[in-house]
């Protein structure tokens, strides 16, 4: 990839313009404004326009600021791990699985630990699917088991072992204080301890997740907002251990 250095764009190339909104524990006056400005200068911004301040009481002030950043990014240096497998249709996937594996692949999914947001995992797994795209239960190529909400990591793994699962799907929606990172790490460490990490495909998903993060955490793949079952199914079909 060629070097291609870019910056934010407001209305003139490379003007670096950004809008920011944040709260500081300062008074809503010129001193507070100056503090906000200094903060942005430290972040490498210039032409800082603190255009709105609002006293939020209890010693806090809200700032809205427009400023330009000095930072830039070289697009040439960006190497992002995206899921590479081509996305197939349900029919294609079913056929592909039949040919390549000659059996149904067992997929077991859950929303783990205290997380009870099942809409996401349901969208991927349930018959009905999401946005008029069927879920894994509808595929001939899969035996899909959705354990639903608030499943302990331990329970999910033991069900996976019992059922000889090929794939484990994990959903995490609550992210406050990075609880999703903790939960996902716990599951993968348990899987390693059980010696099943390499026998099963581990895939996670959720609105604040992506492939990059999933791989960092030791998963085979990760999917974010707007995923369809066919995205995941294509990945599984291509990457499952035979």
């Amino acid at each position: 990839m060629d070097r291609q250095v870019i910056k934010p764009y407001g209305d003139t190339q490379n003007d670096g313009k950004m809008q920011l909104s944040f709260v500081l524990p300062v008074s809503a006056d010129e001193r507070g404004k100056e503090a906000a400005k200094q903060l942005l200068l430290k972040m490498g911004m210039y032409d800082v326009d603190v255009c709105y301040i609002n006293d939020l009481a209890e010693g806090f002030t809200h700032f809205i600021v427009f400023a330009s950043t000095k930072a830039s990014v070289d697009l040439g240096s960006i190497d992002v791990k995206v899921v590479q497998t081509p996305v197939m249709s349900m029919e294609e996937i079913d056929e592909y699985i039949d040919e390549r594996y000659g059996r149904k692949l067992t997929v077991i999914g859950a929303c783990i630990e205290l997380d009870a947001h099942t809409v996401g995992i349901d969208a991927i797994m349930n018959m009905k699917g999401y946005n008029h795209r069927y879920g894994l239960e509808r595929y001939n190529g899969f035996k899909a088991m959705n354990l639903g909400a608030q499943v302990n990591s331990e329970e999910l793994l033991s069900k996976a072992i019992d059922n000889n699962a090929d794939v484990v799907l994990v959903s995490q929606v609550v992210t406050q204080k990075n609880i999703h990172i903790k939960n996902l790490t716990k599951l993968i460490e348990l899987a390693e301890a059980e010696g099943i990490r390499d026998k099963i495909l581990f895939i996670c998903g959720g609105p604040r997740l992506n492939n990059e993060l999933a791989i960092e955490l030791g998963y085979d793949a990760g999917f974010g907002s707007g995923t369809y079952a066919s995205d995941v199914a294509s990945f599984i079909a291509h990457n499952c251990k035979k």
Binding site: N54, A57, E58, F60, Q176, P207
Partner: protein, 517 residues
């Protein structure tokens, strides 16, 4: 703006709901549950926790259960022990926790002495509740009534001390009601944690101490701003009546207290839930606490247009259950939500129809209106705008309590500035269209009127079916929220027991008497 709905259908639908709920009278009078008993001993003074954090009310009730003494009601054994040993309720509980006392082995004193003592304890227990009720009424006198729609915002940092900062700031920015959102899945705990907490996820644990800390903070700031600030939390899950009583004592003003939420959305056993909500709501009624219901939850998983009738049906069932517990209409914050897909043509016309239907069906209720959540966008500017239309519909249709939408709904639990912007949003919209409702008349037989009636008819038909099947069977069949729940499935059934013929719950008795239910 006046909505014409078919009065006969309203009567019919309400009649079905009444019959559906009436079926539960035997259950409600013949059974009790562990949390009901824990509530009783709390009212008698049991409080605190063991060093491993097990709450003393649980210790005591588990102890009585193990000794097969629960069927008579915890009150009797506890009162007898107190009298016999000249100990406070708390002391008794501590001794049980230390395993230095077996309450079933305490000599039984003459029944009439015990009963007299129980009466005194009941008076004392209820007095704490009455005092808070009266104090609240004085505050309304002093500062004037709450605005309509009232502006309700949540705090949910997980840390009660951060919550207080956020709540106080919100009050100064104009909030009328502060809700402390509960830590993820507290519903499923069969005990109420003890003490101040700082480690919740997506919310802060409901504990009596947390209630106290927040109440104190709000009273302080309320004085400063010259408004009485309502505090609310969740009497939901496996500890409904305990939380209600904690709220009654710490002067919460509103409780989220749905008759069916736990069953459907938390897989709690239905008998357990119906029993618990009955007593829980009675406490709220007695304490003058406004209850709110969770019909919005149906729409987080089902389609808001297709399943609009389930909201209406649930409202009417919740209403009948609440009446059974003595909750007056003015204290019934029945719920609904603004959850129609904005990609839908005329989405706001549908929302108007639904909101008007709710308000017209329940004219005396401080109806609780939930903001867009499902279609909230990570584009915070868009969500802010949707919240504006939500506020518009609320002002136009005169909703009671407005759960302000946060522009960051699809991203994170609210930050300080999110709440300030949400309050400003509501202030602007409410003011801008303050008297618009009085200016316009709905076209006779227009879309809005037809749509509202359609939902009403669908709800009536649905309630008719549920009446024929019985509510428990209907739930088993997946009639609500497309979720199937078995009569004997779900969590907490083991905590339900049939009352002995000598069973006593002096608080329930007394409250029933005073509430005339």
């Amino acid at each position: 703006m006046n909505l014409n709905i078919n009065k006969h259908k309203v009567e019919e639908a309400r009649g079905y709901a009444r019959e559906i709920v009436a079926e539960f009278k035997p259950l409600l009078s013949n059974y009790s549950s562990v949390t009901i008993e824990r509530t009783v001993v709390r009212l008698m003074g049991v409080d605190g926790a063991t060093s491993d954090g097990e709450p003393l009310p649980n210790v005591m009730i588990d102890h009585l259960a193990a000794a097969n003494c629960l069927e008579k009601g915890a009150a009797y054994y506890l009162a007898n022990a107190m009298l016999s040993l000249s100990c406070s309720a708390k002391e008794i509980a501590k001794q049980i926790a230390e395993r230095s006392l077996d309450i079933s082995k305490v000599d039984l004193l003459p029944v009439d002495r015990v009963f007299k003592f129980i009466e005194a304890l009941t008076e004392e227990g209820l007095d704490k509740v009455r005092q808070q009720r009266e104090y609240r009424e004085q505050m309304w006198e002093k500062f004037g009534a709450r605005k309509t729609p009232a502006k309700y915002v949540i705090v949910a940092t997980g840390n009660i001390y951060e919550d207080v900062i956020q709540a106080k700031a919100a009050v100064k920015q104009g909030a009328d009601i502060i809700a402390v959102i509960r830590s993820t899945a507290q519903s499923l705990l069969d005990y109420v944690p003890y003490g101040a907490t700082t480690t919740g996820f997506g919310g802060t644990f409901a504990t009596q101490e947390n209630f106290r800390i927040m109440r104190e903070g709000l009273d302080e700031t309320g004085e400063e701003v010259g408004r009485y600030i309502c505090l609310t939390n969740y009497a939901s899950g496996l500890c409904m009546p305990e939380i209600s009583v904690m709220g009654a004592v710490e002067r919460l003003d509103i409780m989220l207290n749905d008759a069916m939420y736990g069953i459907l959305f938390r897989d709690i056993n239905m008998k357990r839930t119906f029993l618990d909500q009955y007593f829980s709501r009675m406490i709220n009624a007695y304490a003058g606490i406004e209850i709110q219901t969770g019909e919005d939850n149906y729409l987080t998983t089902s389609d808001a247009i297709e399943k609009a009738y389930t909201v209406t049906a649930s409202q009417l069932i919740n209403e009948q259950f609440a009446l059974l517990s003595g909750v007056p209409s003015e204290k019934m914050g029945l719920g609904h939500a603004f959850e129609i897909d904005p990609a839908m043509e005329n989405s706001v016309l549908y929302e108007l129809a639904h909101a008007l239907l709710t308000k017209t069906l329940l004219p005396d209720s401080p109806v609780k209106y939930m903001p867009p959540t499902k279609f909230a966008s990570t584009n915070v500017f868009r969500t802010h705008l949707m919240n504006g239309m939500f506020n518009f519909v609320a002002q136009l249709t005169g909703q009671g309590v407005q759960l302000l939408g946060m522009m960051t709904e699809a991203v994170h639990t609210p930050h300080l500035a999110d709440r300030a912007l949400a309050l400003e949003n509501a202030d602007y919209i409410f003011k801008a269209v303050r008297d618009l409702a009085g200016e316009i008349v709905l076209k006779h037989d227009g879309f809005i009127t037809r749509r509202a009636n359609q939902v009403l008819f669908e709800a009536a038909a649905f309630l008719g079916e549920v009446k024929n099947m019985g509510l428990m069977k209907a739930m088993a069949a997946g009639s609500f929220a497309e979720i199937k729940r078995d009569e004997n499935g779900g969590k907490g059934l083991e905590g339900v027991f049939k009352k002995d013929e000598n069973y006593i719950n002096p608080f329930m008795d007394k409250m029933q008497q005073e509430l005339e239910v």
